[in-house]
């Protein structure tokens, strides 16, 4: 069955033209999404379920169009209705838009489960689809200014979505960082346009040179860091992900932060290197420097995730860490590394969306995501538990999950080029992820059943289970049969001008190593089977409920146990606590100073006193007269 499915998909990916579909315009697709967002707004006003279903159908339709017409290269680039827009369908844009639309589609299933209690449910669906329109536009536009416009569409629509969760501060923080990233990119775009005389993306990236190229490189990467939430522009991630609506956190983490990777690809791969080759590491020094910054993101994200007490914040820091992997992959300038980057985008999107959805399902029942506040929902929510487990196994990179393939591909160039410092970060990230992902597993999902939650906790509703089960299946499928995804990734890599990765149905080759995920799966299953046979043959156990256990019922009251439950990794946390708070202290200091300057500006320039206003007008006129402008 799986083999047949694989054959069909691969045949389609290799020979899409045989299908013979007619063209569809990208412009029409974007306009359709904008119109659908308005319809969804009206329908949600009338009935939440109908409005949410409209959102799901719209995202599904968009996904189908991208899969059929995109892979068939039948997306029309010209714009006839809004004719000052122009598009260019590329495999790079197609890859990103498929991944992100797929996450939008899956998460939209769960809207109804959360929106019924939300005061602004109609706006939610409207903004959700509007942001997707921005996403499609961003990935297919061929013009830098239009790219900026579509980015702003995403930022503004999502900035109004986030406060529909727990806090408005989260929206402000998100907006602040996103705008900073956008304007850094705009600065680079304007400089590039001034030098090459065009805002065409391909032409601009090919022809920019000299100091301008360096500034464009830095400003674009600043933007990428802000969008991906990488160190040192990461502080918005935990605040925003932790407080965004439960259904939007998976979209933010699984999908929207990947826009940063899209920007990074422009300058890291599409532009000529702006720095000299660093011979010892066989990379341009600027690329190596940014790979090191990606490494810092991995380490910082990991240690911050270990010390997080909120499940969603923990996963947000995990996203920061995985953003570091993606940046490193695109800094390495080799096909294997690029394949790992693209594969990691998909693997992390699925794993992160699955983990966030599982936490959302628990939070829906117990109304909190605080790890210390709840425990023992496992018996009542077994499917949610399995979904979380498989998702976090992929985040760690355990074989049989998509995360393993991407990490295997990533470590190949690291090992072969001897990038020791990047390797250290990668190892700490991989092993550290075991520590942090198991904290919610052992403290929130497992652990003692709390009597106060005992009666009302139920398994997640069907509309939440559907995307969770699909994601779980795909987490495993991408770990067993990477060929399907690598076929599309190879097209993207070819488009970027690099040789394809050698991948067959059952094996991937990277440098001189060959990986056969299917063989690993088969061996693993044999191991499990032997273990199961030992268990069954000798089975002589009887169930023991938690009420009968002395330790369960009594000793949780001991201070020592409560301490360890609350401060799971306190012993190692204490060794770096003073260091990790420095960055947040710095941003707090910066915020205070900016607020102070803002207040002073308000008191100087926007005073209610007429005499001060007249004084400023006189100074302005005098300055203009002196400058000869009047």
């Amino acid at each position: 069955m799986v083999k047949y499915l694989n054959l069909k998909i691969n045949m389609y990916l290799h020979h899409p033209c045989k299908v013979g579909y007619s063209m569809i315009s990208i412009e029409v697709l974007i306009l359709f999404l904008i119109a659908a967002s308005a319809v969804s707004y009206l329908l949600t006003k009338l009935n939440t379920f109908v409005g949410s279903m409209m959102t799901t159908i719209t995202t599904f339709f968009t996904l189908i169009v991208l899969l059929i017409f995109g892979l068939n290269q039948s997306l029309e680039s010209s714009a006839t209705i809004v004719n000052f827009f122009s598009f260019e369908p590329t495999y790079l844009g197609l890859f990103f838009s498929i991944v992100i639309t797929f996450i939008y589609f899956l998460i939209s299933f769960a809207h109804h489960c959360f929106l019924s209690e939300n005061e602004y449910k109609d706006v939610y669906n409207f903004l959700f689809l509007l942001s997707l329109a921005g996403v499609i536009g961003s990935f297919f536009t061929d013009n830098f200014l239009q790219l900026f416009f579509f980015f702003e569409l995403i930022v503004w629509s999502t900035a109004f979505l986030i406060p529909l969760g727990k806090s408005k501060k989260a929206a402000v923080t998100y907006f602040g960082f996103s705008i900073a990233g956008s304007f850094a990119m705009l600065f680079g775009i304007l400089l590039l346009g001034a030098q090459v005389g065009s805002f065409d993306i391909s032409y601009g990236l090919e022809n920019v040179s000299g100091v301008t190229a360096v500034i464009v490189f830095i400003s674009f990467l600043f933007s990428a860091f802000a969008k991906l939430g990488l160190f040192p522009l990461h502080t918005w991630l935990p605040i925003t992900h932790g407080n965004a609506p439960h259904t939007f956190s998976p979209v933010l983490s699984g999908a929207l932060v990947k826009i940063g990777a899209f920007i990074a690809i422009f300058v890291l791969i599409k532009m000529d290197p702006v720095s000299e080759l660093f011979v010892e590491v066989n990379l341009p020094s600027a690329h190596y420097f940014f790979a090191l910054l990606g490494s810092l993101s991995i380490i910082f994200g990991t240690i911050m995730a270990i010390r997080s007490d909120d499940a969603k914040q923990l996963l947000a820091y995990s996203s920061m860490s995985h953003g570091g992997y993606i940046l490193i992959a695109f800094s390495m300038l080799s096909s294997v590394a690029f394949a790992s980057g693209f594969y990691h985008i998909v693997a992390h999107a699925l794993a992160s969306a699955g983990a966030f959805l599982a936490i959302a399902a628990v939070a829906r029942q117990v109304k909190t995501t605080d790890i210390k506040g709840i425990s023992g929902v496992l018996q009542k929510m077994p499917i949610t538990y399995v979904v979380y487990l498989i998702s976090v196994l992929s985040l760690i990179g355990i074989p049989l999950t998509g995360g393993f393939i991407s990490k295997w591909l990533l470590f190949k160039p690291i090992f072969y080029n001897g990038w020791v410092f990047i390797g250290i970060a990668g190892f700490i990230g991989s092993i550290g992820s075991i520590l942090y992902v198991f904290r919610p597993l052992s403290s929130l999902l497992s652990g003692q059943e709390q009597i106060k939650f005992d009666i009302k906790i139920k398994e997640a509703p069907l509309l939440m289970l559907i995307p969770m089960i699909i994601i779980t299946f795909l987490n495993v499928y991408t770990g067993l049969f990477p060929h399907t995804l690598l076929t599309l990734i190879n097209k993207v890599i070819s488009e970027l001008g690099y040789p394809r990765l050698d991948a067959t149905l059952f094996s991937i080759a990277g440098y001189d190593g060959v990986m056969n995920p299917f063989l690993i799966g088969a061996v693993f299953l044999v191991g499990i089977l032997i273990s199961f046979l030992i268990f069954i043959t000798l089975k002589y156990t009887h169930p023991f409920s938690s009420e009968n256990e002395h330790l369960n019922s009594d000793t949780i009251c001991q201070k020592e146990l409560l301490y360890h439950r609350a401060h799971y990794f306190d012993q190692i946390d204490s060794s770096y606590r003073s260091v990790v708070t420095k960055m947040s202290d710095f941003y707090s200091f910066l915020t205070k100073e900016i607020l102070l300057i803002g207040k002073k500006c308000v008191s100087y320039f926007m005073s209610n006193h007429i005499e001060i206003a007249i004084l400023w007008i006189i100074i302005l006129l005098a300055t203009l007269l002196l400058g000869g402008l009047l």
Partner: protein, 303 residues
């Protein structure tokens, strides 16, 4: 494929037998050093068979599932271990990433099972085990990176063959600092003093396995023995040039395990936080130093 799978199962079974026997013999050796008689050389086998035939309790399906996954994952990893140049199950598929990541399945399975027991004390045990993992794995992996980079080989058996070629030294000679680091890491990996706190008998009341008894504990013992076999085999292939025949493998295996076990007798326990600090201080420093010296400056000890 079936033949390879059967060979792999045979290697895992051999590994269990070899390690349990070696462990029993080592108990005798240590006892004699301490002027005691010690248990019978086959006492380890008796302990395990006694445990797996004893009744026990379980705390739901995840509790059992975790144990099955832990043992299954370790058996699968052992199936990928090459014994000699010729006794291999899956030739060409010994990528080191398999050992790194499949090996984690054991500890993850144990974590799943322990956390499902609902006993808060198991959390403390798992916390210690995971923190130890973070401590000893990173220096070890940096040394592995160095070896893969120098040999240009990614397969464990190819790394062993590389050392057997004329003009190449065993990596224990070429990379002495790296070998020292890996010995430190093995102390943690094997749960030997000074890095044994998470499995130490003195700390068993807050250990990961306090809710496991009888058959489940027996399965975890089997898992531990096979995990030790994998770890020692990795050392033999990474640093001692692998083995051209099974006798050479057994001899090297016995020497490595006994050496580490004797070091274990000399030390006292490290407290977990001290252990993490220690590994991120000296072994990490030495591993990075070795990597830089060997990769960037090409300085290897050659005879």
């Amino acid at each position: 494929m079936i033949g390879s799978l059967l060979t792999g199962i045979g290697i895992a079974a051999f590994g269990f037998f070899l390690q349990t026997l070696t462990s029993g013999l080592n108990r005798k050796i240590v006892a004699h050093i301490q002027k005691k008689h010690g248990p019978k050389w086959y006492q380890e086998f008796l302990d395990i068979f006694k445990l797996i035939n004893k009744p026990s309790v379980h705390h739901g399906w995840i509790f059992d599932f975790g144990i099955i996954v832990a043992l299954g994952g370790i058996i699968a990893t052992a199936m990928f271990v090459p014994l000699t140049n010729n006794i291999v199950a899956f030739y060409g598929y010994y990528d080191f990433a398999i050992f790194i990541y499949l090996f984690f399945v054991g500890i993850i399975g144990m974590t799943i099972s322990a956390s499902a027991s609902s006993n808060p004390l198991t959390s403390i045990g798992m916390m210690k085990a995971l923190k130890s993992l973070l401590a000893y794995e990173v220096p070890f992996l940096i040394v592995v990176l160095t070896i893969i980079n120098l040999s240009g080989e990614n397969n464990l058996s190819d790394i062993a063959i590389f050392q057997q070629l004329d003009g190449n030294n065993w990596f224990i000679i070429a990379l002495p600092l790296g070998a020292l680091v890996v010995i430190f890491s093995l102390m943690g990996l094997l749960g030997k003093k000074p890095c044994d706190l998470y499995v130490a008998p003195c700390d068993s009341h807050t250990g990961a396995m306090i809710e496991h008894g009888g058959q489940e504990l027996g399965m975890l013992y089997i898992m531990h023995e096979i995990a030790v076999f994998i770890a020692i085999s990795l050392f033999v292939h990474l640093f001692l040039g692998g083995a051209q025949n099974i006798f050479a493998f057994i001899l090297k295996y016995f020497i490595v395990y006994t050496s580490i076990n004797l070091l274990h007798v000399l030390y006292k326990h490290f407290e977990i936080a001290s252990k993490v600090k220690f590994y991120y201080k000296w072994p990490l420093f030495l591993a990075v130093l070795q990597a830089i010296v060997a990769i960037y400056f090409g300085l290897l000890i050659n005879f």
